[in-house]
């Protein structure tokens, strides 16, 4: 069955620290990959997405992610976090065969000034 794993459940950083959140998925076929962000009390918003082409994708607010097919990974990175990045981050995978959009369990990021 298709699944998505996020290894970090809760990350605490100081402002200006670098961030990397792990995401691995189980499906071996053609997939679309996403990172969504949920700010406190709000709904999910798209940060970035990978469809094909350059495996390093850039999203909004300085976030980027790298698709490594051989590792089934799609890790999210940001060189220098800000207090306003405090939120919950979800990795998601959509594959062409099942039409399902499956989410990981999320990573709660807290950034302190």
């Amino acid at each position: 069955a298709q699944s998505v794993s996020q290894h970090n459940h809760h990350v605490i950083l100081s402002e200006a620290a670098s961030l990397e959140l792990g995401c691995n998925y189980s499906y071996g076929g053609t997939v679309n990959l996403f990172w969504y962000v949920q700010y406190p009390g709000q709904h999910l918003q798209l940060l970035l997405k990978y469809f094909s082409g350059d495996p390093l994708v850039k999203g909004i607010k300085g976030f980027e992610a790298e698709f490594i097919k051989s590792k089934f990974s799609f890790n999210l990175r940001k060189p220098s976090v800000q207090w306003s990045d405090t939120a919950e981050y979800f990795c998601a995978v959509n594959n062409y065969n099942t039409d399902k959009l499956i989410f990981g369990t999320g990573t709660r990021l807290q950034v302190f000034p």
Binding site: H9, H43, L44, K49, D99, I102, F103, G104
Partner: protein, 116 residues
């Protein structure tokens, strides 16, 4: 452009009651999804639909039903509410994959449901 609209925003149900969570999208998306979000569990897919008249079970369908009579609407029905269904429910829609665009999902604002 309203996007994905969910109603109600909040609801308290008694055990055994039934209710329908409404979801409407105005983007002409083929795909629609219902998720529930519980602390530490992420989003779990309840049901999804790839077009009008077509629905399929997700990861946690028990206790729920859906219908998709139109492209725009995808209501979620709880027939006999149980405390385990206390959660935040999100509806989402996306274009069909392979239509020349990445199927980014657009989410509604959510419905916070408490069953007591």
């Amino acid at each position: 452009n309203a996007g994905v609209t969910q109603t109600p925003k909040f609801r308290i149900l008694k055990i055994g009651q039934s209710m329908t969570l409404q979801c409407t999208q105005d983007m002409n998306h083929n795909y629609m999804y219902w998720y529930r979000q519980d602390p530490g569990m992420g989003l779990k897919l309840i049901y999804y639909s790839v077009g009008a008249g077509i629905t399929d079970k997700g990861e946690v369908p028990n206790g729920y039903n859906v219908s998709r009579s139109t492209t725009e609407d995808f209501p979620l029905r709880l027939e006999l509410a149980a405390p385990s269904q206390t959660s935040v429910y999100f509806c989402a829609s996306s274009p069909r994959p392979g239509t020349g665009s990445v199927p980014e999902a657009f989410f509604g604002q959510g419905t916070r449901l408490t069953v007591v």
